[in-house]
């Protein structure tokens, strides 16, 4: 299904996505949105892994499995992150990073 | 171990009660004979109300277009919510005596509560409950009825 699409296209898309994520990471204040930016970056990386795997090493599966484990780890990370965010929210009624400076856990 | 046994007991006990419930509904599903629906507009011909059914107050007229109401207004006074208005007129009899006679008997179906007091108190038994129930209208004015038919007159008491 990837016939006729050069590898670079995938990579460029992924790059743009990654840097949009970076932009979000830098400008956002709300922790949940920051988490969302991180997810964007992770996805960009995943696309890269898979594109490289498919185009450069079609006989192997490293990229595929890397992506799989990244997703799994991302899920675990998101779970813990959100647990922490919610907990912060319960304490400060606010989830802005800037206000969370005064966290005295 | 006990905990596990309890756990299983609870589980199967619960399932059993659920199945009992399903048995009941299942029974009715496979027994369409139990359906008790009366299909109203289709069964209009055969649909018969009980004879005491209070459909609406009506004033029976006999074949000479005569009714029994003497316009005494007892029903009007007794009706708890003023659904009846008896308008009477004075008529001169042949013998020169003035006599009160019914002009219009207004019955507000829209207000009647079908308590039956009017019928019980009427000394002449001039009004009865009729069985009709199909009264729905688009215009509220249609629900204010005149019970005596046009041109009707008082039925002379048969002296016995």
């Amino acid at each position: 299904m990837n016939a006729g699409i050069p590898l670079v296209y995938f990579l460029v898309t992924a790059t743009l996505m990654f840097f949009v994520g970076v932009y979000g990471f830098m400008t956002r204040k709300n922790m949940i949105t920051i988490l969302m930016s991180v997810e964007l970056m992770l996805n960009a990386v995943n696309i890269n892994f898979l594109a490289f795997n498919r185009f450069l090493f079609p006989g192997q599966l490293e990229g595929h499995f890397f992506a799989l484990f990244i997703i799994a780890v991302a899920a675990a990370e998101a779970a813990v992150a959100i647990a922490i965010i919610i907990n912060i929210y319960r304490h400060f009624h606010n989830i802005d990073v800037e206000q969370a400076d005064e966290m005295k856990y | 171990m006990n905990a596990i046994i309890n756990y299983l007991k609870e589980l199967f006990g619960g399932i059993k009660t659920l199945l009992t419930g399903m048995k009941v509904t299942g029974y009715y599903f496979v027994h369409p004979r139990q359906i008790i629906t009366q299909q109203y507009p289709e069964n209009r011909k055969t649909l018969k109300m009980f004879d005491r059914f209070k459909g609406e107050v009506s004033m029976p007229h006999d074949e000479n277009n005569q009714h029994k109401c003497t316009a005494c207004s007892i029903c009007e006074i007794n009706c708890p919510n003023g659904s009846i208005e008896v308008i009477s007129k004075q008529v001169e009899k042949e013998d020169g005596k003035k006599k009160k006679e019914l002009d219009t008997y207004i019955y507000k179906l829209s207000m009647c509560t079908f308590c039956g007091i009017c019928i019980k108190v009427c000394p002449q038994d001039a009004i009865v409950f009729s069985q009709g129930f199909e009264h729905a209208v688009f215009n509220r004015e249609k629900l204010i009825k005149t019970l005596n038919k046009p041109g009707s007159s008082l039925k002379e008491k048969v002296k016995e």
Partner: protein
């Protein structure tokens, strides 16, 4: 049921006069068919008449045959509000609000003496609204206290007949003749 078997055909003819547009007849027919066969009532019952409304929904009389068993609790999804029971002053704004929140096209059935005119509470009562039409426009009146379920079904059929006179161009045109009637 045949046309002649219904009462109050005169008023229905009035509705027909105000409607009627040759161009859209077929479309109207289809839409009215849909609308009239699927009037979903709002679960709204205030008093005794509500019990008879429930009875009308139950197995013996089965509202569902007319396709109106889908009682919706939210006015957003309801087509008809069956005012079953007394409306008092405190309730009137609520009723109005519920009616306002229903989407067009919407219909109102006044069921029972209370909804039509205040019925048993017409005289000497300080808190009863004397007829829902003081609050919202009514399409069909069903007298009775309470009307028996068949009477409600009959009322619904009257409503269906009324819906069938609608046109898509100019829905729900009330003839001016009884814009403001009051109990005399």
């Amino acid at each position: 049921m045949k046309y002649e078997d219904f009462n109050d055909n005169e008023t229905l003819e009035l509705f027909k006069q105000t409607g009627g547009n040759l161009f859209f007849t077929t479309v109207d027919a289809i839409i009215n068919w849909g609308r009239s066969n699927s009037v979903w009532p709002l679960t709204f019952a205030t008093a005794c008449c509500g019990i008879e409304m429930m009875a009308a929904g139950a197995s013996r009389h089965d509202f569902a045959r007319f396709g109106i068993e889908v009682y919706r609790a939210s006015p957003r999804q309801a087509d008809v509000i069956v005012v079953a029971g007394t409306i008092v002053n405190k309730m009137a704004p609520v009723l109005k609000r519920l009616y306002d929140q229903m989407p067009e096209p919407k219909y109102v059935i006044a069921m029972g003496a209370c909804a039509i005119s205040g019925g048993p509470f017409y005289y000497n009562s300080y808190h009863v609204v004397k007829g829902v039409e003081k609050v919202i426009p009514v399409d069909v009146y069903i007298p009775g206290c309470p009307p028996r379920p068949e009477a409600l079904l009959y009322g619904v059929m009257q409503l269906q007949r009324k819906i069938q006179t609608e046109t898509i161009r100019n829905p729900r045109k009330q003839p001016d003749t009884f814009a403001d009637t009051d109990n005399k």
